[in-house]
């Protein structure tokens, strides 16, 4: 009868034991695994967002047509062939950015707390506890809380391992893809801008040297300046995007180097700094 009373009503000793157990469980599980990984999630999401920036690819594809403004008609066939060659590269170029975006989205999802939903588990647990004849509602509730903590922490731990595995397996190919993209953007797209500047210089300087009309020369100088400023703006976008790619590369390398300590405060602080830089660069490039 006494035993029955103890289980039917709040059993102080049992509730106390549950509290101690919950503390122990938390201490045992939470060391380094309940830290919010929001900095990693933000880093991944911003990196994914940056990969959506495809304006530079469009400009690369349009380059031969823009050149027609400055080059004599005898060069159009060559420029058309170049445009065709570049058009065949469009899918591959966008694929690099899209795979980077998909990868970063996956990384962000793995780092996100909200992805974990243990409602179903806890529901099953409640039913199982209710089926235990000797369980009173307070005990069941207290136990459910512990189970909730255990499940959440265990899932977080599992998630961190998945995150760690993903970063470990992907770092080498991601670095190579980012390196290749940096090269393409910096030397390829950036090189186009240098060529475009040279073409503008050739075109307007030739007309200016041939002209005898001061007003016409002044107008040409204005047009030249206008066209040059357009190229400079695009060059700035290229330089900013190269910095974005370098930032993503450094950030991912840091995650790889610290993959065993992803939840450490200092590591998350460093990732947080990368996030700030990345955000500033993205805001800059969006304005260009």
């Amino acid at each position: 009868m006494t035993g029955r009373m103890m289980t039917r009503h709040a059993s102080p000793s049992l509730l106390h034991a549950l509290r101690i157990l919950s503390t122990m469980v938390l201490l045992a599980f939470t060391q380094g695994c309940t830290t919010n990984l929001k900095a990693i999630q933000d880093f991944a999401n911003l990196s994914a967002e940056s990969a959506q920036y495809t304006t530079l690819v469009d400009e690369y594809l349009e380059f031969p047509n823009r050149q027609k403004r400055y080059q004599p008609p005898s060069r159009y066939a060559n420029l058309d062939a170049m445009a065709q060659d570049r058009a065949t590269q469009k899918t591959s170029l966008l694929l690099r950015q899209s795979i980077l975006e998909t990868y970063m989205e996956s990384l962000g999802r793995l780092a996100a707390d909200e992805v974990v939903d243990n409602t179903e588990e806890l529901g099953k647990l409640s039913s199982a506890l209710e089926a235990q004849a000797a369980t009173n509602p307070k005990e069941a509730e207290a136990y459910k809380k512990i189970a909730g903590m255990v499940t959440t922490v265990a899932v977080k731990r599992w998630r961190q391992r998945q995150l760690q595995d993903l970063i470990e397996q992907s770092n080498a190919p991601i670095q190579l893809i980012l390196g290749s993209l940096q090269r393409i953007v910096s030397d390829g797209f950036g090189g186009d801008h240098q060529t475009e500047e040279a073409a503008i210089q050739n075109y307007y300087m030739t007309l200016t040297m041939e002209s005898q009309d001061p007003a016409g020369k002044a107008a040409l100088a204005e047009w030249k300046e206008f066209r040059m400023s357009q190229v400079h703006e695009r060059s700035e976008a290229v330089q900013t995007y190269v910095k974005v790619l370098a930032n993503i590369s450094d950030g991912h390398q840091r995650l790889f180097d610290q993959r065993q300590n992803l939840s450490k405060k200092e590591v998350l602080q460093q990732v947080g700094d990368s996030v700030k830089d990345l955000r500033t660069l993205l805001e800059t490039i969006k304005k260009l």
């Binding site: 694929l95 990868y103 999802r109 235990q132 369980t135 005990e139 265990a154 190919p173 991601i174």
Partner: protein, 129 residues
């Protein structure tokens, strides 16, 4: 030895530099050339600049080819990550905690310290922690 993307980018730069230098030379010596000579020089400049752009196109193509294998590797990693996320969305597929925690519940209710410890370990094991 086949041309690498790096080589092609370097060649592109060299063609461009030659074109720019030729242009500078034409403008610096404008009055010493006949109109035909100027036109010929300008024609060469466009040839050099277009060779540079063609080489850029080639270099981009080579860079894309060279990174193809890495794309496949990332595809594979993304596939694994997506499966992991799917599992996370349904905790029971990640860890069979429910069964193990019910055992722990029973142990707690029974106030059996030995069983509590044993079942806690089982929960940990189920969670693969």
């Amino acid at each position: 030895m086949p041309l690498s993307a790096e080589d092609a980018f370097e060649l592109s730069k060299q063609f461009r530099d030659l074109g720019i230098n030729l242009g500078n030379y034409r403008f610096a010596n404008w009055n010493t050339f006949t109109p035909t000579q100027r036109r010929d020089l300008e024609d060469e400049e466009w040839s050099l600049l277009n060779s540079s752009s063609d080489m850029t196109t080639k270099a981009v193509g080579l860079a894309l080819e060279e990174s193809e294998v890495n794309i496949q590797n990332i595809h594979s990693s993304v596939g694994k990550a997506k499966r992991a996320i799917k599992k996370l969305e349904k905790v029971s597929e990640v860890i069979n905690v429910a069964a193990a925690t019910v055992g722990l519940a029973a142990a707690i209710v029974a106030k059996d310290p030995g069983a509590i410890a044993k079942n806690t370990k089982l929960v940990l094991k189920a969670a693969n922690v």
